[in-house]
């Protein structure tokens, strides 16, 4: 059923008895052309674009829990394409363009809100770095505005501009950046993929990968063996666990990142704001809760929960940026498992096995990349060659010295 104002009206007249589940719950078939491991944002987007753009519809998405139970339901919902480097910028801008047309494309309300993203700067050096970043963005055709202190004050008058240690001098703003209702992204892609024939199989954990003559022939799962022509990994924080099944060692560590939401407040913060002197980013949801987060906890973890020390650190950074937050009560906090790559950039590539593909290493920037990741990964799987905007995200770039080190600090598994 196509969703529209008319369908809402018609179903209201019928007492809302006509709504159908947005996707089926099929039993797995014996064989699929493509199996995608991981029913998160990237896996579902990949299935959607495979079916819609590349005509590959005999596809299954295997999810060990329910769809959207991982990081697509655990992030701070921010979208932006304010990247500096060649390999990153066109890719994230493709993602932004796909976000802009996404709701019409998959006929689902994802509440895409281009409310603007402001990155604050607190020193001359930081202003210069943001000027360079903004210029790089504009050279790639991405919008960027460098705001001075007074311009920021007009937008966000409640910031601590005269902080003794980190006075706010201005901000780099991307007006097209903003937020998206994260769960709806998973649901919209799932519904769009399902309606084109993709089987979404939940509560189906992959326990092994069967190989014959150097090729993958299928996967062992908690619901039995399922054969496949091509196998695509999109397991985020659990990428290593799945790659271990084919003896593939990855340049990835899994770390926990926490996020938070406050009690509901009246409209207060109109944009997404990031603190330049610490790790803190915040926006306000339509329900009124402040959605915010900080840095990873710092130790390897597969548990979807973190530590109080990080909670305190994030709260301190938040209050340093917005003193009015000091009496706001935090309603909930949660953790997600991040696939931290060694240069802060992702991997979308073939592997040492012919019909096995890898999508991993999103660090904690994967949500904004969801549409472009799905699109480029689907292109790679369908045509066996990378999409032009995803070419740089090679698995062998670490061995070849072609890192995409957006932060410019060298190789370590705690970059963004």
């Amino acid at each position: 059923m196509r969703y529209s104002a008319f369908s809402v009206f018609l179903n209201a007249l019928r007492g809302n008895t006509g709504w159908k589940p947005a996707w089926r719950s099929p039993l797995p078939k014996n064989h699929y052309d493509v199996i995608i491991i991981g029913g998160g944002g990237h896996g579902l987007a990949t299935a959607y674009y495979l079916a819609k753009e590349f005509g590959v519809t005999n596809v299954a998405v295997l999810e060990k829990s329910y769809i959207g139970s991982g990081n697509v339901g655990r992030n701070t919902t921010i979208i932006r394409s304010n990247y500096l480097l060649q390999g990153n910028n066109p890719f994230y801008e493709l993602s932004m363009k796909l976000w802009e047309g996404l709701e019409q494309d998959f006929n689902f309300n994802a509440m895409v809100s281009q409310r603007g993203v402001l990155n604050l700067y607190h020193s001359d050096a930081q202003r210069d770095a943001y000027t360079r970043r903004g210029n790089a963005m504009r050279l790639h055709g991405v919008d960027a505005d460098l705001l001075d202190r007074n311009a920021v004050r007009q937008i966000l008058p409640f910031l601590d501009f005269d902080n003794a240690r980190f006075p706010i001098q201005g901000a780099l703003m991307q007006k097209r950046g903003g937020t998206v209702r994260h769960d709806a992204v998973a649901w919209g892609y799932a519904r769009g993929a399902d309606s084109r024939g993709v089987d979404i199989i939940q509560n189906c954990e992959v326990t092994g990968i069967r190989r014959e003559n150097g090729r993958v022939t299928g996967v062992e799962t908690s619901q039995g063996f399922i054969g496949c022509g091509k196998l695509a990994l999109a397991a985020a924080g659990n990428s290593t666990t799945v790659a271990d099944m084919v003896d593939m060692k990855l340049p990835i560590e899994s770390h926990v990142l926490q996020a938070f939401v406050s009690e509901g407040l009246k409209p207060f913060i109109d944009n997404v704001v990031t603190f330049g002197a610490g790790h803190f980013y915040v926006s306000q949801s339509d329900k009124g809760g402040l959605v915010f987060g900080g840095d990873i906890d710092g130790y390897n973890s597969y548990a979807q929960r973190g530590n109080l020390a990080t909670v305190e650190h994030v709260a301190e950074a938040g209050v340093a940026m917005i003193p009015a937050l000091s009496r706001v009560r935090v309603l909930r906090s949660w953790g997600g498992v991040m696939d931290m790559s060694m240069d802060g950039s992702p991997i979308i590539d073939r592997t040492h096995i012919d019909n096995l593909y890898l999508n991993a290493g999103w660090c904690y920037g994967g949500f904004k990349a969801t549409p472009a990741s799905g699109f480029c990964y689907a292109h790679l799987i369908a045509k066996n060659e990378p999409h032009e905007t995803g070419r740089a995200f090679r698995l062998d770039r670490f061995a070849r010295g072609r890192m995409i080190d957006e932060k410019g600090v060298g190789s370590q598994p705690n970059l963004h």
């Binding site: 340049p251 899994s254 710092g298 390897n300 973890s301 548990a303 020390a309 598994p413």
Partner: protein
């Protein structure tokens, strides 16, 4: 992460006193070990879901480097030893 780390020198101490460095299972190759060995050392990780040995520094205590074996799924700590007892690792 567990709340307490039992330092072999100071006894059980709050984990906030410690700083994590990362995987203790990797060993620095010889300078002439070749590109593959150095690539593996710098970039590749076992990243296990389960038991994992890590270097932690008792920053606000004895300032010794420790090897902590803990579970990355449950966050339980199994053993804590002084790094020097583990032999030469990087």
């Amino acid at each position: 992460m567990a709340s307490l780390i039992a330092c072999p020198h100071c006894g059980p101490r709050p984990k906030e006193e410690f700083t994590v460095r990362g995987d203790a299972g990797i060993t620095r190759p010889a300078p002439d070990a070749g590109e593959d060995a150095w690539y593996a050392y710098v970039y590749l990780r076992d990243n296990p879901r389960g038991r994992h040995k890590e270097h932690w520094h008792h920053t606000s205590g004895c300032r010794r480097w420790l090897v902590v074996e803990r579970d990355t799924m449950t966050h339980a700590i199994y053993t804590v030893t002084d790094a020097s007892a583990e032999g030469e690792t990087a």
